[in-house]
């Protein structure tokens, strides 16, 4: 059911435009390099990340290796996503009709602000001051918790890792395991100070069978504390908010996959359920789900089958929530869809295999990307959602090693999109005189010119030999000026040799042409 009369909410995609509203322009993100440098200085973080990424990486490799038709499955996943995106409007309207038929309500949100307004209004209508949440990237993307807090509504994260970072007042650093940057002794400290000392956990002594001071950092003890805290919340909350992994257009069924059972609690216990999903999450049929439920768990947690897969269709008499709202969020997605190269980023099923395999992510962690979507997928998604001018360092946060593409279950060619977005960053910079005259832009222009003719290229080789002389010390270049200093911080360079390959080739050819003499090769 649409919600007429509410500002900023339109009923169907082709409904009359909602009243004009000032769209907030995204602010530029901090440079990746800055966050990376901070992260690289932290040995504990490096250790935590190494251990976590390598564990998941190896688990994934093992279970993917078991599937003989993995490449065919990937191809099927890619094809379904691409077909769906080509007819996105049709499938979204089909989804809306199916959800409404099953007793759910559908809301369309152009951006974060509209989505947050819709959600806050529904929560307020039920007089709730507290909502429980299933882990959801989309609600992080729109900063729902902050928007609800501004309306005096507390959002409680029920996924263990999300709870950890919420208690720590931090932000997620990984799509799947948001607290990947924390180890268990850090988590123990956090639970002691934030939950037990604040009496938010009933009877810790009985619960753990130990004194509070002796709370161990064993996963079992830590989850016991979290479970006791969350159980109260599950039983008292009136409203739950989730994201959605998939939504089936033909039936109106929404799907959430999770590993802890907290999602199942949220999706079934409270009276009201609100699910927020990006419009690219729709898939046409139940049969399509079959492909993704094979691809996703193996790629993300390295499991053969997902532990808790919840599927629901609207509302059912006498079971589950009495009221179901589906919020369909655009927030820049149609803009991504319009780009023929960049749109493949919308294929993403948020498995995080690209993060776990990425040599850059493994060392910098997720915070350096300054976005809800970190790692390789974030580096191509964030600049497209926010505009390349607001995330210009992200397409460069990759050595283009190609590992992400190789593991992607829906075959997103991440290196291709990274290079493409770099092109857009350069084009954007060239629009200003400052950008056109930057050392990099000038150097690139000059070099392109030199490479365009054999004569100029060979002259440049000569010049390089002379130009390097001030930098050569005892047979090596050990310090370079300006932006090149990053190279010489840890690496020496061999000087440009006196004879190029072509120089050698020519002298050999000349020697061979002197037929009266025996052929002699000259040493370089």
């Amino acid at each position: 059911m649409s919600t007429p009369g509410v500002p900023g909410v339109s009923g169907v995609p082709d409904a009359p435009a909602a009243p004009e509203r000032r769209v907030r322009r995204p602010r530029p993100l901090p440079m990746f390099q800055k966050g990376a440098r901070q992260a690289l200085e932290n040995p504990q973080l490096r250790r935590n990340l190494y251990k976590a990424t390598h564990t998941i990486r190896n688990k994934r490799a093992a279970v993917v290796g078991e599937v003989p038709d993995w490449q065919e499955l990937r191809e099927a996943g890619r094809a379904i996503k691409e077909r769906t995106l080509r007819h996105l409007d049709t499938y979204l309207q089909e989804l809306e009709a199916s959800v409404q038929r099953a007793g759910g309500r559908v809301h369309w949100a152009r951006d974060a602000e509209e989505a947050n307004t819709i959600i806050a209004r529904i929560v307020a209508e039920h007089g709730a001051r507290e909502v429980i949440k299933v882990k959801s990237l989309t609600t992080d993307e729109i900063r729902l918790n902050e928007a609800l807090a501004a309306q005096g509504i507390d959002a409680i994260e029920t996924d263990l890792a999300e709870l950890i970072i919420q208690l720590a007042g931090e932000r997620s650093s990984h799509i799947l395991v948001p607290a990947i940057h924390k180890n268990r002794s850090e988590i123990r400290e956090l639970f002691l100070h934030e939950l037990i000392e604040h009496d938010l956990v009933p009877g810790p002594r009985e619960l753990l069978g130990t004194g509070v001071d002796e709370l161990s950092d064993e996963p079992r003890a830590l989850t016991t504390v979290a479970r006791a805290y969350l159980r109260n919340k599950f039983l008292s909350a009136q409203v739950a908010i989730s994201g959605a992994n998939f939504a089936v257009a033909e039936s109106g069924t929404v799907c959430v996959v999770e590993s802890e059972g907290n999602g199942r609690m949220c999706l079934t216990l409270p009276q009201v359920l609100i699910s927020v999903m990006g419009i690219e999450k729709v898939i046409p049929t139940w049969q399509d789900l079959e492909v993704f439920l094979q691809l996703l768990p193996r790629s993300s947690t390295g499991e053969r089958m997902n532990p808790y897969t919840s599927l629901w269709t609207g509302v059912s008499q006498g079971d589950g929530p009495r009221e179901f709202h589906l919020v369909l969020l655009d927030n820049g997605r149609t803009q991504v869809l319009a780009d023929t190269v960049g749109r493949q980023a919308l294929n993403c099923i948020r498995c995080s295999a690209c993060l776990n395999i990425c040599p850059v992510y493994e060392r910098t962690g997720g915070h350096a990307y300054a976005s809800v979507y970190p790692g390789p997928i974030g580096a191509i998604l964030t600049p497209q959602l926010l505009g390349v001018e607001n995330a210009s360092s992200l397409p460069y946060a990759s050595s283009l090693c190609g590992a992400c593409y190789e593991v992607c279950p829906v075959k997103i060619n991440i290196p291709e999109v990274l290079i493409y977005l770099r092109g857009q960053v350069v084009q954007h910079k060239q629009e200003s005189a400052l950008g056109r005259l930057s050392p990099e832009a000038l150097a690139m222009k000059v070099m392109a010119q030199l490479f365009s003719s054999q004569m100029q290229y060979e002259e440049a080789q000569q010049l390089a030999r002379l130009g390097q002389l001030p930098f050569v010390h005892r047979g090596a270049i050990t310090r370079l000026p300006g932006p090149l200093g990053g190279w010489s911080a840890m690496r020496d360079l061999s000087p440009v040799p006196t004879q190029s390959f072509r120089g050698w080739w020519r002298s050999r050819q000349a020697a061979r042409r002197k037929i009266e003499q025996p052929v002699q090769e000259e040493q370089p």
Binding site: F32, Q33, A36, R37, L40, V341, P359, V360, R363, T364, Y396, A397, S398, S399, L400, C401, G402, A403, Y405, E406, I419, Y420, R422, G423, Q424, V425, V426, Q427, M444, K445, M447, A448, L450, F451, S452, Q454, Y457, Q461, A464, T478, P483, L484, G485, G486, W487, A489, M490, R491, D492, S494, V496, P497, Q499, S500, F501, R502, W504, W505, R506, P524
Partner: protein, 245 residues
């Protein structure tokens, strides 16, 4: 076979010994080598850094120079990757159908040296002699863009006198990444540090790869550290014989 050598601007200017070794090796194996002197740069640095408009004339230039070649061989996986993988994309992005057709006709004839030897010529033992302890770093572009598989290792294992040792966590990027090494110098160095640790763990005296660019990055740090490990391009090892070292 008549091989047109695509030397790459990088090897031509900075590592001529790699080109010389490639010529000697191919000639020793009975092939004639031709070096089209008009070649300059394939455009990879411009293209991958975002200067695709500047790269386009270089791409057209390359296709024109090598268009008639029987086979094109280069001692560089990343430059061959540029030609075989990215030229077609560039033609599509710029909607240049003539270029797309020319690229489609040329790219199947463009080979990286080790894949040429193993998959095209069916060779493993090329008669090389190299009595040293050697480890091999498989470069990202050779692995994930060209899919050369274990061709380089097969060639190295067949070298006479070699003490070949596997590199731990070999599949991981060394952190070079072209302008990445400059633009994200800190992250690049962090990746390099781990690669160096693995190289040193092998106790090899020589670290080998199929790309001079990655070797310049790894070798530059080994030199700075006075680690006592050299970096050598695989062409140089394969060109070395008992008679000529």
């Amino acid at each position: 076979m008549r091989v047109s050598l695509f030397i790459t601007c990088f090897n031509d200017t900075l590592f001529p010994q790699v080109g010389i070794a490639t010529v000697r090796l191919l000639e020793r194996l009975g092939h004639s080598v031709d070096f089209p002197e008009a070649q300059t740069c394939c455009g990879q640095m411009h293209y991958n850094t975002g200067y695709q408009r500047e790269a386009l004339p270089l791409i057209r230039r390359f296709v024109q120079i090598f268009g008639e070649a029987e086979v094109v061989v280069a001692p560089s996986a990343s430059c061959v990757g540029m030609v075989r993988d990215l030229y077609a994309r560039a033609a599509a992005w710029f909607d240049d159908q003539q270029l797309a057709a020319d690229v489609a006709a040329l790219s199947p004839r463009v080979y990286e040296l080790t894949e040429f030897l193993v998959y095209r010529l069916g060779l493993e033992d090329v008669g090389a002699y190299y009595p040293h302890r050697v480890t091999y770093h498989p470069t990202c572009h050779s692995l994930r863009f060209l899919h050369v598989g274990d061709a380089p290792q097969r060639l190295l294992r067949a070298v006479h006198g070699i003490d070949f040792v596997e590199l731990p966590e070999a599949l991981e990027c060394c952190g070079f990444g072209g302008t990445f090494a400059i633009k994200n110098a800190d992250t690049s160095l962090a990746m390099l540090s781990d690669k160096l640790r693995h190289v040193l763990d092998t106790r090899a005296e020589v670290c080998v790869a199929a790309d001079s660019s990655c070797l310049m990055h790894i070798g530059g740090a080994l030199h700075r550290q006075r680690a006592g490990v050299r970096t050598v391009h695989i062409a140089e090892i394969l060109a070395t014989t008992e008679e000529r070292s």
